[in-house]
Symmetry: C2
Subunit: 312 residues, 2 copies
């Protein structure tokens, strides 16, 4: 059994994974701890409570419980798998580098691996979801940010410094929109939640719609025929179509999996995206690259992916 | 010993490679043959004449000459390494798919491998040139087209259909310049030889300068202070800077090697390119990605790269 941990901006999910299934979960808040050491204490405690490692009342003759959980995999934004460090993550509470893999391993006595959350999602989809048995796969997560993970030649692509797979920070419009990374024109500035909301505003959408957070509000408006909302998704499809076509030209995946709430709004994004993707795709790839949404339950995917980090 | 073959639009170079050195070369025209079968006949004959395989007058007791050349590697535009086929190459004489690996192997009796010319150049640079001992490398060839080859996790990245590494066909300007691939705004349309000449024209450069083919004419004009020529290289540096920064965001190489005559015009391209590349580079990569020109003699590089295809 493996513990998979998904560290999000507000909440951290912890799951026990057995045979590719999440069989138990718990969660702790990511924020509100004194410092990263207090967070690591709480995280280790929650993980140990969830695992058979400390199961109470084991009968004599049962196997050593310590061996039932063999590894802990942790997915987090801005996490570097080569170093085991969360590197100054803008959406997490800590302003410094946090060597969380080492901190959790010291506190639990269980081998712990840290990895980028988008890479974890790609691994989860590859091992357990829509990308099984493929040698070349691209997973794109659409949410607060735009993350991506690439399976290349049957391996997770890490890059020389462990930071590969930042498709969201490829520039699709030179001198375009300001991105949170400090540069201009990144894909993320156009197709993240914030990007879609900005597009809706630029299209003179109804300000009342945006009183609700996220993109579900724009999706609801689109379903009620709001022209600016419909146009917002069509524009997003165009920008994302170019970004995906460029990723295909470079890495040549057999399938692209789109993950995250924006994609789950079904046809609103995916229908125009499929059209634009084909339009921008290099001709040798026509008919050769599937474009699908995630096959995993959203709550489980991040935990399964984090668990899969330990199997690399 | 390995035979390396580089198939170009007009001329095909054949070299005998021993211990990472080209020790003998010959060439045949690529064009002017009746069909692809006649070309394969001529190519096999030239390869056999160059190799010790058919060396005349071997003494009794010498090793079987047949074993001295163990493999033939062939680099060509639009070649697919997974199938061994040149796929409808627009710059070669044949309008159909040509299974050249099989054709050469049948005619020579020597194991033959076909690969994309840019991938071959990347392999050559990785094994023998500026990319030795790196796990993650990007090579970009600037010429008639813009090719690229990626070493990822210590392996050549092929993609699921053998066509990966087409950075030249990533779109850097949406709805931009028409590209020979049928789409618009590809990097190749801006920084290939044709792209630079078009930029010079758009900048109202002196038409007399372009009476000479290639880009050396623009480089010469720039060296004499021609403002449009200098601006042409600065613009190229900007477009290529974005393309390289995007490739880094996705694949995370430790070094980028620029290959081809345009880059050899020294500071004209490389000086502004280094500036623009840093400007467009994602902050986590600052100071972490070398940008260099090829370390191999231009005549040898393609042959060494083709030979390296056989060692995959």
């Amino acid at each position: 059994m493996i513990i998979g941990i998904d560290i999000g901006g507000t909440s951290t999910k912890i799951g026990l994974v057995d045979g590719g299934k999440v069989i138990a979960t718990t969660r702790i808040p990511t924020t509100g701890h004194t410092d990263e050491f207090a967070f690591a204490d709480a995280l280790a405690e929650a993980a140990l409570q969830l695992t058979p490692h400390r199961r109470q009342g084991a009968m004599a003759g049962e196997p050593d419980n310590g061996q039932l959980t063999t590894a802990i995999g942790i997915g987090a934004p801005n996490a570097n798998q080569l170093t085991g460090i969360i590197e100054m993550a803008p959406n997490l509470p800590w302003r410094n580098d946090v060597p969380l893999a080492k901190m959790v391993q010291e506190r639990t006595g269980i081998r712990s691996v840290l990895g980028n959350d988008a890479n974890a999602a790609a691994l989860g989809e590859w091992r357990y979801g829509a990308g099984q048995d493929l040698n070349d796969l691209l997973l794109v997560t659409l949410g607060t940010g735009v993350g991506s993970g690439f399976i290349v030649n049957g391996q997770l692509m890490l890059g020389s410094h462990g930071n590969a797979g930042e498709l969201g920070h490829s520039i699709i419009v030179m001198d375009g929109r300001q991105c949170t990374c400090g540069r201009k024109g990144c894909l993320e500035a156009y197709v993240s939640i914030r990007g879609l909301r900005r597009t809706y505003t630029e299209l003179d959408g109804d300000p009342d719609v945006l009183k609700e957070a996220g993109v579900l509000c724009i999706a609801k408006a689109a379903e009620q025929g709001d022209a600016a909302a419909l146009q917002t998704f069509r524009h997003a499809a165009r920008w994302l179509g170019v970004g995906l076509a460029n990723a295909v030209a470079v890495t040549g995946p057999e399938r692209i999996v789109i993950f995250g709430g924006i994609a789950r709004n079904g046809a609103l994004l995916m229908a125009p995206l499929r059209e634009r993707f084909q339009e921008y795709l290099l001709n040798i790839y026509h008919g050769r690259v599937d474009l699908v949404t995630s096959a995993l339950p959203e709550d489980d995917a991040a935990i399964l992916g984090a668990a899969a980090l330990t199997t690399l």
